[in-house]
């Protein structure tokens, strides 16, 4: 069975609109979703990426520049990654549908290549 990564894209500007009550509801749903996934043996791993820090390297005409980033003004950043087991993309999508991240961000699903 292949593994899939859920890349959780978010734009912190989206958080400005979420009320304390709604945030609590999302966290509650997360706890329940993860529990279901764990019981189903679906979740393989989860990695939270530190917010607000990072570096971006680019090479232009032979010169490599390093900048702080990615920063988030108006742009989406990957906040974290879940790795799940699923039989196929359809199944992975069904699992992602219930991931509460979808309420305020985008979930990109990629399959992990097996050699």
């Amino acid at each position: 069975m292949p593994n899939y990564l859920f890349l959780l894209h978010e734009n912190p500007a989206a958080f400005a609109k979420v009320s304390p009550e709604e945030m609590q509801a999302i966290i509650q749903k997360y706890a329940e979703w993860k529990k279901r996934m764990q019981l189903a043996g679906t979740v393989v791993g989860g990695t939270k990426l530190q917010d607000g820090t990072g570096r971006v390297l680019r090479q232009k005409r032979g010169e490599t520049t390093v900048t702080d980033g990615p920063y988030t003004e108006g742009r989406e950043v990957i906040g974290g990654i879940f790795e799940v087991k699923a039989e196929n993309f359809d199944a992975a999508v069904e699992a992602a549908r219930e991931c509460p991240h979808i309420e305020y961000g985008v979930i990109e699903i990629r399959m992990v290549e097996v050699h």
Partner: protein, 451 residues
């Protein structure tokens, strides 16, 4: 929605989106597994902790920096939203939020050399223990008083209280009062600006001013409760959220020695006794259940008991306020086993006393309804004649709605029809509209049966 059919090993041949994860993954909510206690957050924890920390931070930063205090707390909540899904809910969520907010606040204070002395104040004022300190209770009271300052208009007071004290988002406030989000946002900006302009201090007023300031707070709480109890427009008849907040705020007043006065007990009694009936106010299909038709077994007996306790504490022989009278009326309803056994004569007398204090249409209508139960519909209709002529009440649906009911009771279905039609021309909530339409159909039918 099309999925890529080239899925590699294990693809589902029919391309359907059925779940094929290794073990059965429950998709429907009905099959979701309940969380253990460790995964549960106390209801409204985020809102309440937010309010608590905002109050303490405003004490430290100063009243003119209310927005800064709110930003700091919002940052802490967002951090929780970003991290807890991965790390799990911490064992002491309130302490976690407090610590993060504290650290952020300390960062801000340390950047400014002139604020160095506030660092120790912050550490003193925001302890990490679960039980609120006296200073935290003081701060929450000071915050409510500030948000209900007479320099602000009623609408600003309500918006600011809901935002800063109750932790509602602008969108939630807008939904609660059926206004636009940007209208609420503007009110908040203006209110905070007014607080800065008038240099309103973050402190408890002295004795002389206190009771007047407290009265303003009680009025805001009462308005909030009423909006939740009998919403004026929209899809919901009641918004229990708002009622709950109103009761919580009044309870907060009581925890403070200076808020523990008979009027506040009366207000609490009134709200608790009415809120106890909320579970029975709407029927399972969302339509209204009139008091006479409510399933009284659904009433919250615990709230009724608490209401009575506060009613007792409200009677100290000095003055009777409108809150006292309304609490007494609610108490009579709360203890009557059914509509027939209610002491309607007493209810009418209480409404007459209330009308002397507050000669409003809603009081007159409630008196009329009680009067109809005591002396019959004709007496009630007569009592409403003056009101019916009042042009200011043209768009007030309750008046023709009540007249419709009263005429129906007298058997005059023709007049009842006209009354219900008039009611439907006014603004009201969707469940009320639904109810009025069914009443209209009923009286139209009855009117046609008569020769």
């Amino acid at each position: 929605m099309k999925y890529d059919k080239k899925m590699g090993p294990g693809k589902s041949s029919d391309g359907s989106s059925s779940s094929k994860i290794s073990a059965t993954l429950p998709n429907s909510p009905a099959r979701s597994i309940p969380s253990t206690d460790a995964d549960q957050l106390v209801a409204h924890l985020f809102r309440h902790q937010r309010a608590r920390i905002v109050a303490s931070l405003t004490r430290v930063f100063g009243a003119s920096h209310l927005s800064l205090a709110e930003d700091v707390v919002q940052d802490a909540l967002i951090k929780a939203l970003q991290q807890w899904p991965f790390r799990g809910i911490p064992e002491n969520p309130a302490a976690w939020l407090t610590l993060v907010a504290r650290n952020r606040a300390l960062d801000l204070l340390r950047r400014d050399a002139s604020l160095a002395d506030k660092v120790s104040e912050l550490e003193r004022v925001l302890p990490q223990t679960a039980a609120p300190s006296q200073s935290e209770i003081d701060d929450q009271l000071a915050l409510i008083l500030m948000c209900c300052h007479p320099a602000l208009s009623d609408e600003w007071q309500i918006a600011l209280t809901l935002k800063s004290v109750c932790g509602f988002s602008t969108a939630e406030i807008a939904r609660g009062f059926l206004t636009e989000e940007k209208t609420i946002a503007q009110r908040l900006v203006r209110a905070k600006r007014r607080l800065r302009e008038k240099k309103i201090a973050f402190e408890l007023p002295d004795e002389a001013e206190f009771s007047e300031r407290l009265a303003a707070v009680m009025r805001v709480i009462y308005l909030l409760f009423n909006e939740g109890y009998g919403a004026t427009r929209g899809d919901d008849l009641v918004r229990p959220d708002l009622c709950e907040e109103a009761i919580r705020l009044a309870t907060l007043l009581i925890t403070h020695e200076r808020g523990r006065v008979p009027e506040v007990h009366a207000l609490l009694a009134l709200m608790m006794l009415q809120a106890a009936r909320l579970p029975a106010r709407t029927q399972s299909d969302g339509t209204i259940a009139l008091l006479a038709d409510q399933d009284r077994t659904l009433w919250d007996q615990r709230l009724i008991a608490s209401g009575f306790r506060h009613l007792g504490l409200s009677a100290d022989g000095r003055k009777i306020t409108a809150y006292h009278l309304q609490a007494e009326i609610a108490a009579i309803h709360g203890t009557a086993a059914n509509g027939v056994e209610t002491d309607w004569a007493k209810v009418v007398s209480l409404y007459e006393q209330l009308y002397e204090l507050e000669p409003t249409p809603i009081v007159a209508l409630n008196r009329a309804i009680a009067l109809s139960r005591w002396q019959g519909p004709e007496a009630a209709i007569r009592s409403l004649e003056g009101l019916a002529k009042n042009r200011a009440l043209r768009n007030y649906h309750l008046l023709p709605a009540v007249l419709g009911e009263l005429w129906t009771q007298t058997g005059d279905f023709g007049r009842a029809t006209k009354a219900y039609q008039k009611a439907l021309n006014c603004d009201c909530t969707a469940p009320e509209r639904h109810f009025l339409e069914s009443q209209l159909r009923m009286v139209v039918d009855r009117n046609q049966i008569r020769p």
